[in-house]
Symmetry: C2
Subunit: 214 residues, 2 copies
């Protein structure tokens, strides 16, 4: 069986767990001893290590082309990878870093900065989150999923971030019903179950975190 070395509140780690779930590949999840190392690490049955979300994505799409998470069509591919890259850079820097990385301990995020939470930073992240979700809302309404009619890496990347934000009760769901509807569909998938069982020691999730109708 594959093993995945991860930490709980790191978006690329959460995304790797969702990808393995969508590919229906059973795996043993193991929390990293050193949260500052390069994660996630996927270990094959023969012990080969594949490190980082770019390499994990490439390996899983190449070796398990059933249930593809990147479409064949060039235009759709570009759109999936645009949203994936944007989520992992702009959304990460302006929202997740400013909220989740302030609220959760370094052991669960892998953030290189260790210092007390700064509420001004959290507030600036909330403003950016609200603006970004408003901008994203038309996508699942028009397309079905974020990039196209099918579930893709774009959905899993954003869901990885959103689920970490939701754990801390930071998503203004009622303001953005189209995104709430999209997230409810994601959350109902079997691949999501392990994430909904996450518990950060000393920081229980908000009550609705694991509920499928909220």
């Amino acid at each position: 069986m594959n093993r995945l070395v991860h930490i709980l509140m790191s978006p690329p780690c959460r995304m790797a767990r969702l990808m393995l779930g969508e590919k229906r590949l059973p795996f043993a999840a193991q929390i990293a001893d050193d949260p500052l190392r390069h994660l996630p690490v996927l270990l094959d049955e023969d012990g080969t290590a594949v490190t980082g979300i770019w390499a994990v994505t490439d390996r899983l799409e190449t070796e398990h082309p059933d249930n593809p998470l990147v479409p064949e069509d060039a235009g759709e591919r570009a759109e999936v990878l645009r949203l994936l890259d944007w989520t992992m850079t702009h959304f990460h820097d302006e929202v997740t870093r400013r909220i989740v990385f302030e609220k959760a301990a370094q052991a669960h995020t892998g953030s290189p900065m260790r210092r007390p939470p700064n509420m001004e930073t959290v507030r600036s992240g909330r403003v950016a989150l609200h603006d970004f979700l408003k901008a994203l809302a038309p996508l699942p309404e028009e397309r079905g999923f974020l990039a196209c009619r099918e579930l893709t890496l774009a959905d899993l990347a954003l869901a990885a971030h959103m689920s970490a934000l939701d754990y801390y009760g930071e998503v203004p769901w009622t303001d953005i019903p189209a995104i709430a509807e999209w997230y409810t569909r994601l959350k109902s998938r079997p691949s999501f179950r392990p994430l909904l069982a996450d518990r950060v020691p000393g920081q229980p999730p908000v009550l609705h975190y694991a509920e499928l109708d909220f």
Copy 2:
């Protein structure tokens, strides 16, 4: 001819310029009016836009498989993508953000934070840079290039960051001769020429920036 919308000191933009050069694809480079937008953007001759380094990489590797920048071999692929991801996340956060993003204006980096340079942050970036380069030094010595015997995306990603750091005279070349030797080889390639001609208004590069023997 392709067009590339970019900004001067953004590592993914610099990497896209190097990739186009290595693929021998002529392109017109155009500085983005809005440095905060998602960059780089590659515009085909028919006006199709491909946005972000992940999508640009996928498009160029798919449509221009000559001079491949990701090897076929699964183990080498994983190593290339591990180094690429590490450079774009860990190295970026701990070095480039702390040095280049402090020294260059937002118009040239696209950093979401706009505030005066913090010399303590720059100093912490210099410590991380020194440690990272010491750790990387054995790779080109043992392998030829960073990930394997051939030039790959791993080299272009690190060179994109290193060239921005070098512009500001921030690389301790004499301390890490193996990395200096690797960088001199990269810098001598035709793909590097446009980067060596970069000039940030009001901030000329250090004298050795464009010299091939330094």
